[in-house]
Symmetry: C2
Subunit: 204 residues, 2 copies
C-alpha cells in the first residue's frame, strides 16, 4: 500500500513537470512511465486514461499553488494592495528559477492547458475555470479590504479581480513568448493600476 501511493504520486509528479514545461499533447505516457520507473500497465492501474491523469495533475498543482504561494501572497496580515505585488514577485522569481534550471520559461500550467485544451474538452476546461475562480476570489477579497480601508477608490471588485488575474496570465504569456522572466518584473506594477469602475454594467 505504501508503495502504491508512492507510485501514483510518482506518476503525477513526473507528469506535472512535463505537462507544465512542454504540453499535454507533447508528453507521452511512455515517457512518464520511464520517469516514474514503472511499466505502462501499472500506469493504467491508477489512471483509466491520459485525460484522467491531467485532471489529477491539475488538482494536485492547484492545491499546491493555492496552499503555497497564493496563500503566502494573500496573507491577511499583509496590507491588501501589497499582496498583489507579492504575488507578482513570487511569479517572477519562480519563473526565473525554472528558467535558470531548464533554460525555458514554462509559463503558467493552467494558462497553458486552458489554451491548449479548452476547445477540445469541456470538463477539463471547467476544471481550469474553477482554479481561476478560486484565485480570483482571493484577489477580490484583497480589493474589498483595500476599499474598506480607503486605500483605493471604490470600484467593481469582482470584475477588477478577474481583470487582474487576466493581466497576470497575459504577462506570463508574454514573458514565456520572449522566454524572459524580466517581462514579469517590468510589467508587474501595471497590475495594481487596473480598475474597472462600478457603474458600467452591473445593476445589482
Amino acid at each position: 500500500m505504501t508503495a502504491t501511493i508512492n507510485t501514483r504520486d510518482r506518476i503525477i509528479e513526473a507528469a506535472k513537470s512535463r505537462f507544465h514545461s512542454r504540453s499535454y499533447a507533447d508528453v507521452g505516457i511512455k515517457e512518464i512511465c520511464d520517469t516514474a520507473l514503472i511499466q505502462k500497465g501499472s500506469f493504467y492501474h491508477f489512471f483509466p486514461s491520459k485525460r484522467d491523469l491531467v485532471l489529477a495533475v491539475i488538482d494536485e498543482f492547484a492545491s499546491e499553488w493555492a496552499d503555497g504561494f497564493v496563500a503566502e501572497a494573500f496573507d491577511p496580515a499583509l496590507p491588501p494592495m501589497e499582496r498583489f505585488s507579492y504575488m507578482v514577485d513570487a511569479a517572477y522569481y519562480w519563473q526565473k528559477s525554472v528558467k535558470e534550471k531548464h533554460g525555458k520559461m514554462p509559463g503558467c500550467l493552467f494558462g497553458n492547458l486552458a489554451l491548449e485544451i479548452s476547445t477540445k474538452d469541456d470538463i477539463l476546461r471547467s476544471r481550469l475555470n474553477a482554479v481561476f475562480a478560486h484565485a480570483k476570489s482571493r484577489f477580490k477579497e484583497a480589493l474589498d479590504e483595500a476599499i474598506e480601508r480607503k486605500e483605493i477608490a471604490p470600484l467593481d471588485t469582482d470584475l477588477t479581480a478577474e481583470a487582474m488575474l487576466a493581466y497576470l496570465e497575459g504577462m506570463i504569456l508574454f514573458a514565456k513568448a520572449q522566454n524572459d522572466p524580466e517581462v514579469i518584473y517590468k510589467l508587474g506594477s501595471g497590475l495594481m493600476s487596473i480598475r474597472i469602475e462600478l457603474d458600467s454594467n452591473s445593476i445589482n
Copy 2:
C-alpha cells in the same frame, strides 16, 4: 500556375482556421489535405514540413490581422484612446461571431501558438514575438499621441503598450477558458486603466 497559387492558398486557408480553433499538434496534415482537396504529396510540394506550414500560416494571419482590424482600430483619424476600445470591441465581436458559428471561442492564434510551441521551437517563438512587437508599436504610438494631446498623464509608453497587449491576451485567454466572449466585453474597459509610470526602472 494559377492552379498552383490556388492550391498553396487553399492549404494555408485550411490550416489557418484549424490551427486557430484547435491546436498545432491536434491538426494533422491528412486533414488539411482533405479540406484543401489535395493529396499529401502535393502538400509536400509546397511545404517542406508541417513546421514550415505553421510559419506560413503565422505570416499570413499576421498580415491579415495587421492590415485588417488592427489598422482599422489604430486609424490615426480616431482619438488615440478610443483606438483601444475599438480594438477591444473588434476582438469581442469577432470572437463572438466565431463562437456563434462553431460553438467554441478560438482565442488568439498567436497567443495559442505562443503557449503551445514556444518552449519547443525558438524560431517559431521569435516569429510570434515579431507579431506582438508590431502590435505593440501601434499601441505605443497611440499612447504617445494621447500624452502629446494631454489626454492622459505622462507614463512609460513602451512598457504600458506592452502591458496593454498582455492584458488583451490575458482577457482573451480568460474568455476562451470560459468559452464566453462576454468576458472580453466585461473586462474591456480595464485596458485603458493600465498605467506603468516612467520612473520605476528606466534611466534613459
